[in-house]
């Protein structure tokens, strides 16, 4: 009875995601066919919901590089199973970002131009190249995960074996991944930070904030996903001590983030600068204020920080999961706020002191549907990974190592 109930929940979940993906596909087709005029993007706000989803997907994929660096470069071997989950999430996240970007650029057929035509002065070029290269690294790092697929092991055992052996190079991939990730996670923030035309964005610490929030958000998503999967099915075992330690680290990362964010915001309140002061006002008591104070600060940083640093709440799985989910939400909220606060301010360039005017933006239905479709795809990919590739299974590695030892023993005996 219980198993039957579980299967139908799984089916229900799949169907729901499938429906969202279908809707998203339909919306995506409309976007490719009719062009970007079906969005509510304008020449004043050319970047909207899709860019937020793109930035957020990359941010929550940051668990991959941080955990892999911890395992292979800092020698914290025991976190390897969590790193495995994080790598898979990272792969999904980056593909989500690519899908969203494909819709967002005006000429999707020219997506390859950045790889062929270089502009070394452009941060966006650097981000594109890093993402392309890092996606390759993630793919290589994920191949051992795909090698666990039972059907693959039966059909093409040699290929599966070859894929598994890539695991040998994991440390080198981790190094490359760390370098690439540190470059582009902060460059995504610097995309905004280098624009002198937008006084609210023009500061050097946006890149620091982006990478810190990415590390916090990426690890949070990984831990949250692991905990959720372990609760949904007894089949997947997780080592709660590992997850609890990572949550502790996330808590202190949030402290660091809050520290930077506090000084970042405070420094902008001193003296009036046209564009910058208004941008801050939009966040503190303008149309973005709810998202900033409640979404970003209270729910996104302060409450999770307290919950994760405090031992009793951290060890309670409900509070921990809630805190981690809130962190991910806060990461998304931060990127939405950063993107819109700069674009909603229209600075006049007429002589005299620049006059500030405001514009507004709310995504259109097509944008929302296609964005939801991409998110649903991510959830579906992760669900399938959990089910068929055991990405959340802290016992899997042990089982694999056991098998390798058995094989070695047999070959040694034969020799």
């Amino acid at each position: 009875m219980k198993t039957r109930l579980k299967i139908s929940v799984w089916l229900f979940w799949l169907l729901g995601l499938g429906l969202l993906i279908l809707l998203g596909l339909g919306a995506g087709v409309i976007v490719f066919w009719k062009g970007l005029s079906v969005t509510h993007l304008t020449d004043l706000v050319p970047w909207g919901l899709w860019i937020t989803i793109d930035l957020s997907s990359i941010a929550v994929s940051a668990g991959a590089f941080s955990l892999c660096a911890a395992v292979y470069l800092l020698g914290l071997k025991r976190y390897q199973p969590v790193a495995r989950t994080a790598t898979f999430i990272g792969l999904i996240g980056y593909t989500m970002a690519l899908l969203t970007l494909l819709m967002d650029i005006g000429r999707p057929d020219r997506f390859w131009h950045a790889v062929v035509y270089w502009n070394k002065h452009s941060l966006l070029w650097e981000v594109t190249m890093c993402i392309t290269l890092y996606l390759t690294v993630l793919l290589l790092e994920s191949l051992p995960i795909f090698a666990q697929f039972e059907w693959l092991k039966k059909r093409w055992p040699k290929l599966a074996g070859w894929m598994s052996r890539i695991h040998h190079y994991a440390p080198y991939l981790a190094v490359i991944g760390l370098g690439l990730s540190m470059l582009h996670q902060s460059s995504l923030g610097a995309l905004y930070g280098v624009l002198k035309a937008r006084p609210f964005w023009f500061r050097p610490d946006i890149s620091v904030l982006f990478i810190i929030s990415a590390v916090a958000g990426g690890m949070s998503l990984t831990v949250f996903a692991s905990m959720l999967v372990a609760r949904l099915s007894r089949r997947f075992r997780v080592d709660d001590t590992l997850l609890e330690r990572i949550s502790f680290f996330i808590g202190w990362t949030l402290v660091l983030y809050l520290y930077f964010r506090f000084w970042d915001a405070l420094s902008m309140t001193y003296t009036y600068q046209p564009g910058r002061t208004e941008g801050l006002q939009l966040l503190t008591h303008g149309p973005l204020s709810f998202n900033f104070w409640v979404g970003e600060m209270m729910l996104g940083v302060v409450i999770p920080m307290v919950l994760l640093i405090n031992r009793s709440t951290r060890e309670n799985s409900f509070w921990r999961m809630l805190a981690l989910l809130l962190v991910v939400g806060g990461v998304v909220a931060y990127r939405w706020d950063t993107n819109l606060s700069g674009l909603m301010i229209v600075l006049s360039y007429l002589p005299g002191e620049p006059v500030v005017e405001y514009t507004h933006y709310f995504p259109s239905l097509i944008e929302i549907l296609s964005g939801a479709g991409v998110v649903a795809y991510g959830l579906l990919a992760f669900s399938l990974g959990v089910r068929y590739l055991s990405v959340v299974d802290h016992g899997a590695e042990d089982a694999e190592a056991e098998e390798m030892r058995k094989v070695k023993k047999v070959t040694a005996e034969v020799a």
Binding site: T42, L44, Q281, H285, G286, P287, V294, V346, Y358, T359
Partner: protein, 327 residues
């Protein structure tokens, strides 16, 4: 090994396909014509040709009223000096019927379209036909427009021979006052509330001495008399309406106003906004809806309350002195 017969058949097909394609493609590529003459301007400039054909220049010879009048007057050659292109009075030959491209754009450069067609935008060229006493060049030279180096084509479209349109609305209105208002925005600040504007007087009525809808086009003299392009109103202009008040203002003012209204003066157009507005901006950010805030906060309160309810319940029971329930 491929059979030789199959190869031959394949080759025949290939040659057929290549040949047909070559033929078809050749037929489509237009070799640039070595000589550009009068007739083939339209091959490239079809949109200009369309405008020209429906305008006065294009219909200068074919216009029914002109054609009839010309016939009844015995086809005088003097008319063709303006109503045809390249008319030679000595031989009676003309290059083309009506005012065609080469009437103004000549000589045609050998390497056109690389080199532009020549055009003289000064009143000298337009004045060849549009000259005093029939038309207006001497008056024009008195105007401030001429003194500021403006040409006829600032207001007049030389191809369609109409007035230039700066907005769609202006194209529809028969009165050129829209165009005046477009540059003379400062004058339009006060004029719309004036008594003249209320009476239906427009820029062209006074500054060109021109009453739209009044000229009788079958009248030879009237149809060859262009409005005064000096743009300087004279006493004559005022007297067109206020003659009765010349020495007796007052009651006659009303009569004069009515007379103007009845003659069908057009209403004063509003200044055409050309300054391009930036879309979607305002001076204030989108106001934060207090209800929206309250609603969202309420939802959060709901969630928070549900999460905290076990503890709150316990607190309540403790406060009421009930026994603690063991977990």
């Amino acid at each position: 090994m491929v059979k030789p017969e199959r190869l031959i058949i394949a080759l025949i097909f290939a040659l057929l396909a290549a040949g047909i394609t070559l033929f078809a493609v050749r037929a489509q590529t237009t070799e640039p014509t070595s000589g550009i003459s009068n007739s083939n301007c339209m091959a490239c400039h079809s949109d200009i040709a369309t405008e020209w054909q429906s305008g006065s220049h294009g219909q200068s010879l074919s216009d029914p009223i002109f054609a009839e009048t010309w016939q009844t007057q015995g086809q005088p050659g003097a008319c063709l000096v303006c109503h045809a292109t390249g008319y030679d009075p000595a031989t009676g030959e003309r290059q083309a019927e009506g005012v065609v491209c080469t009437a103004c754009h000549s000589p045609i450069p050998a390497n056109h379209p690389k080199e532009n067609m020549p055009i003289d935008k000064t009143p000298d060229l337009c004045g060849r036909c549009h000259s005093d006493p029939r038309f207006i060049t001497e008056n024009w030279m008195l105007s401030a427009h001429y003194k500021r180096d403006m040409t006829c084509s600032v207001c007049h479209d030389p191809h369609g021979a109409g007035m230039k349109s700066v907005t769609d609305a202006a194209a529809a209105s028969p009165d050129a006052s829209d165009l005046c208002a477009n540059c003379h925005k400062d004058a339009m600040q006060n004029f719309p509330t004036s008594k003249h504007a209320e009476a239906g007087v427009t820029c062209v009525n006074c500054h060109l001495g021109f009453n739209v809808g009044k000229a009788d086009v079958t009248d030879f003299v009237a149809s060859h008399k262009a409005p005064d392009h000096s743009f300087i109103p004279t006493l004559d202009t005022c007297n067109k309406c206020h003659a009765s008040q010349m020495h007796a203002p007052g009651a006659a003012m009303a009569a004069a106003a009515i007379a103007v209204e009845e003659s069908g003066g057009t209403p004063t157009p509003s200044p055409t906004p050309v300054a391009t507005p930036i879309p979607l901006v305002s001076n204030q950010p989108v106001p934060v809806s207090p209800f929206g805030f309250a609603g969202l906060a309420g939802l959060l309160g709901l969630v928070g309350g549900m999460v905290l309810s076990p503890w709150l319940e316990k607190l309540y029971r403790n406060f009421n002195g009930k026994e603690e329930r063991s977990k």
